[in-house]
């Protein structure tokens, strides 16, 4: 498939072009400057220029991502509308699908010019039989776009505002969005119309910022309540130019976000979004982090001391090579206090497969732990005191511990069963 992407060097565009060329599509980049790194064909394209654009023949789809995100004057907004009209015309000439990436704020009576412009373009696209995609709060990947700005803000401020009433956002990882856009471009069974792509359940903006702090930046941030009324009053006093410069315009469109009904659109595209805590991880998912925690817990349980980083890496590697690479999703309590893994014997698992998988991983941790110098001391008893008495004592205490944990297991059985039932992961 040949796909032209405008705004291909931007936050979403760069993810989309990468994904499309990984899938073997012929990607044509339409941008102001020739990209220096990406090995794709290039078409000069500028939103504010009057020159018309001619797409290569055999273009199957045009994804229009280029946008003026600076929230500046109205003139530029009109340029955008004209540019979109030209693109629609050009794509119709070569018979290509036209896919426009709009905004959650798009509506006829949007409080911002940005939102209103998007709405106007949407109308043009829809009347030309094109596709409109309204993404939610895009996050993840490189620190660019609004997401990049938010991360930098969270990094700089140790106290963050918690707006009251709290605005709700519907996040979507940039890679998931790129996947959605590509599916629309690739598939013939997706009818034209408006597609809202974002998490179906809105979350509070503060929770989103907290996610940035905890999962992306791995730090803790405090929140101070800030009434929205104050911001609005301030905005009214300042006038549009200053509002825009201070970023209040963006904030106001945040307060005004309509909740999008996304579940049916996601289903239509067969798209499953990654959870926020996973997507917030710099690698795009927290799969490895979960595996790391699991490996650490199992290895501590076996070795009775924290494992070295090399053996931890080997655990992750082994699970990735042989077991599909997903963590079991053991309850957090066990990951924090590995000694309690003693409670997890065969009978506490709900299914035989869960029990078998756990014992496979415990065996793996045992074998990997043993194959280290630390393991040699622990498993062969090297460096320990030798003698009948000390051996007898150690053996007796091992048996005593066993008895102790068997009793605890009886007491905590229902609780452990419940906790394991709630665990989400490879189990």
């Amino acid at each position: 498939m040949r796909v032209v992407v405008t705004g291909a060097t931007g936050y979403i565009g760069s993810c989309l072009t990468c994904l499309a060329s990984r899938r073997g599509h012929d990607v044509v980049i339409a941008s102001r400057q020739r990209p220096s790194t990406f090995p794709a064909s290039w078409l000069p394209f500028d939103l504010s220029s009057d020159n018309s654009i001619v797409f290569p023949i055999n273009t199957n789809a045009v994804v229009h991502l280029a946008a003026n995100t600076t929230y500046t004057n109205r003139l530029k907004n009109e340029c955008e509308l004209v540019a979109a009209q030209r693109l629609i015309k050009s794509s119709r000439e070569v018979g290509a699908k036209f896919i426009f990436v709009s905004s959650q704020t798009a509506r006829a009576d949007a409080p911002t010019a940005y939102g209103r412009t998007k709405w106007h373009i949407e109308q043009e696209v829809l009347s030309a039989g094109g596709w409109v995609v309204r993404p939610g709060q895009v996050y993840g990947g490189e620190l660019r776009g609004l997401f990049g700005m938010l991360v930098k803000t969270v990094q700089q401020l140790s106290i963050l505002p918690a707006f009251v009433p709290t605005p709700k956002v519907q996040p979507i990882h940039v890679d998931d969005l790129a996947e959605g856009l590509l599916r629309i471009a690739e598939r013939g069974d997706v009818p034209p119309g408006v597609y809202c792509l974002a998490a179906p359940e809105p979350i509070s903006f503060s929770k989103f910022l907290d996610g940035i702090a905890k999962s992306r930046l791995r730090c803790w941030r405090g929140f101070v309540p800030v009434p929205v009324v104050i911001i609005n009053a301030l905005a009214a006093v300042l006038g549009e130019a200053l509002r825009t410069r201070l970023g209040l315009e963006r904030l106001r469109s945040l307060f005004d976000l309509p909740v999008m009904e996304t579940a049916s659109d996601l289903k239509r595209l067969g798209l499953t979004l990654r959870p926020l805590h996973s997507g917030m991880h710099p690698s795009g998912n927290d799969r490895r982090r979960c595996l790391l925690r699991e490996g650490r817990a199992l290895l501590i349980y076996v070795l009775k001391e924290p494992p070295g980083s090399a053996v931890l890496r080997r655990y992750i590697c082994a699970i990735e090579q042989l077991r599909g690479g997903q963590a079991l999703g053991l309850p957090r309590f066990f990951l924090g206090y590995p000694i309690f893994l003693s409670l997890l014997d065969k009978s506490v698992w709900a299914s035989k497969t869960a029990s078998a998988e756990f014992s496979w991983r415990l065996d793996t941790a045992t074998m990997l732990a043993e194959a280290t110098p630390t393991g040699a001391y622990r498993f062969l008893g090297l460096g320990h005191e030798h003698g009948v008495l000390s051996s007898l004592f150690s053996m007796t205490s091992a048996v005593a511990c066993e008895v102790f944990w068997r009793m605890l297991r009886v007491i905590f059985f229902p609780l452990v069963r419940l906790a394991l039932g709630r665990a989400k992961g490879a189990l």
């Binding site: 076996v302 090399a310 042989l322 893994l341 003693s342 045992t366 074998m367 110098p373 498993f379 007898l392």
Partner: protein
């Protein structure tokens, strides 16, 4: 047309090289072909305990860079998990189209075959045991002597197992025992009479491991790396015999060639197969073919060539394993030592059956191998075994091969299907063995740990034999006393497939001796042929 070679030997394992020596020495043009698998992971350089303490890369030979040991977690023997042996077993079943159904099927495509991962147990079949062979026992005597001297055997000592093994004439002195086995052996001597009355005899294991240096190999230095691979080559592997064969100009080798069929032409044969390097099909001709690909692979080649699609019987020894604890040595520090059989026993069961087994030190075996079977939580299982294992030895038991009811059958798709189960007699026999061993070792100051006596799965012995047995007057699917396949003149079987019986004893040396015998006979026949033009 002159064929490419006088003889093509399929397989460079113990039987292949044993047949090759007399043929090459007779000046015949001999080609050995094999699957060509070569070692990838090197065993430790230092002795086992030092390597464990100092080698930060020990996971490479203990687990393997490709997680070999984890992939083979459920394999029947620790040996199959050892990364440095992975090459010896890999792809055998897939490339040879062997499928085990409720039966373990192991074989090798490596140069040197299964001898690369051999436990090195050797024994000579007694005259009574050879009675089932279609030739006089004396025919094998010369071969036993020749092969034993070539491969190097240790364990020569006048003890209660001397007659059972029958190898002391050709052996080096034994390799020193560890403290546990020394104690067992002393206690045995104190209670000898009583134990004899129980049908129990104990003596040094006879193993194909050097206790004295030879020209090309070094004696065992008790490094304890037996399971992982010996850099000194103290343990015999037929790979070590290839250099002396290569000195002969009339000897050729083709490695990385898996034979999948034989075709008869006018007066000669062609082996057909695929080279591993480029997947090219090749056909090489010879006037005689000697099959030494290992019992399972050889059986398939023969049945396919005969187009024989009826099941043939397969012999395989029922096995069990157990653990002994010597309380007097509790708290002993771990010491490096020999990792293969140190003491061996024979045990009479039900008057007619003899069980055979050996005991081994536990130091060179990972604790993970044992802890899985301990009914304690993992953390405390490790605590317990760490203290216990230094005063424990592990043992195995073999019963005669006719007690497994197994058969191999060529399928419509030309794969070889192997099925089988133990005969009903095995469980009571094993129960009796456990009871008798518990009693015998108890009087030797060792406790057979409760729950440790475990019967292995059928085929787990990897002693397969008897699918194409040598007979006085063979039927189709059998071989003559010269090892020649009935119905396929010029095709000879020299590996385990042609043994008419499989006793409880280690059978490798007998396979090698028989291969030597067939090789010598064949050399004579071919010499006569050339004399007569």
């Amino acid at each position: 047309m002159t064929p490419d070679f006088d003889i093509i030997i399929v397989g460079s394992g113990p039987s292949g090289v044993s047949a090759a020596f007399p043929l090459v020495n007779a000046g015949l043009r001999v080609l050995i072909v094999d699957g060509g698998k070569q070692p990838g992971v090197l065993p430790p350089e230092a002795d086992f305990l030092s390597a464990r303490i100092n080698d930060t890369e020990q996971w490479k030979w203990m687990v393997g860079g490709d997680s070999h040991a984890l992939k083979k977690r459920d394999a029947v023997s620790p040996k199959l998990r050892v990364p440095s042996h992975a090459y010896a077993f890999e792809e055998f079943e897939a490339r040879n189209h062997v499928v085990g159904k409720n039966f373990i099927t192991v074989g090798s495509l490596a140069t040197g075959g299964l001898s690369n991962a051999w436990g090195c147990g050797v024994a000579r079949f007694s005259a009574r045991e050879i009675a089932a062979f279609p030739f006089p026992a004396s025919d094998l005597d010369v071969s036993y002597a020749k092969v034993s001297q070539r491969i190097g055997i240790s364990g020569r000592v006048d003890d209660d197992m001397s007659d059972y093994f029958g190898l002391d004439d050709y052996s080096q002195p034994p390799i020193p025992m560890d403290a546990l086995h020394t104690r067992l052996s002393q206690r045995y001597l104190n209670h000898r009479k009583k134990l004899h009355a129980q049908g129990f005899r104990l003596g040094r294991s006879r193993v194909a491991v050097l206790s004295e240096d030879t020209a090309s190999r070094q004696a065992c230095n008790l490094s304890g790396n037996c399971l992982w691979g010996c850099r000194r080559h103290s343990m015999y592997s037929s790979t070590g015999d290839l250099p002396s064969l290569r000195k002969h100009e009339n000897f050729s080798e083709l490695s990385g060639f898996v034979v999948d069929g034989l075709t008869r032409y006018d007066g000669y044969w062609a082996v057909e197969g695929q080279t591993s390097s480029d997947g090219e099909r090749r056909s090489i001709t010879a006037s005689r073919i000697v099959l030494a690909a290992g019992t399972l692979a050889t059986t398939r080649i023969v049945l396919k060539t005969l187009n024989h699609r009826h099941p043939v019987p397969l012999l395989s020894c029922p096995t069990a394993a157990f653990m002994l604890w010597l309380p007097r040595l509790l708290g002993a520090p771990r010491m490096p030592g020999f990792g293969l059989g140190q003491l061996s026993f024979s045990l009479n069961l039900q008057d007619t059956i003899t069980a055979f087994g050996s005991t081994f030190a536990t130091t060179g075996i990972p604790l993970s191998e044992f802890v899985r079977h301990v009914p304690l939580r993992r953390r405390y299982g490790i605590d317990l075994l760490r203290e216990l294992l230094s005063s424990c030895v592990v043992g195995n038991v073999f019963l005669p091969g006719h007690l497994t009811a197994a058969e191999a059958e060529l399928q419509p798709d030309d794969s070889l299907s192997v099925t089988g189960k133990y005969c009903n007699a095995v469980v009571p026999l094993m129960d009796e063995a456990a009871k008798k061993l518990r009693k015998a070792y108890w009087s030797m100051g060792a406790v057979l740990l409760p729950g440790s006596f475990t019967i292995g799965p059928p085929g787990g012995d990897i002693h397969y034999a008897g699918t194409l047995p040598m007979r006085e007057s063979p039927f189709i699917g059998e071989t003559s006393q010269r090892g020649e396949v009935e119905g396929l003149d010029g095709i000879f079987v020299v590996d385990g497939a042609c043994l008419p019986t499989l006793t409880e004893k280690s059978h490798t040396l007998t396979i090698m001796a028989n291969a030597d015998r067939i090789g010598r006979q064949l050399a004579t026949v071919l010499a006569m042929e050339s004399l007569h033009g």
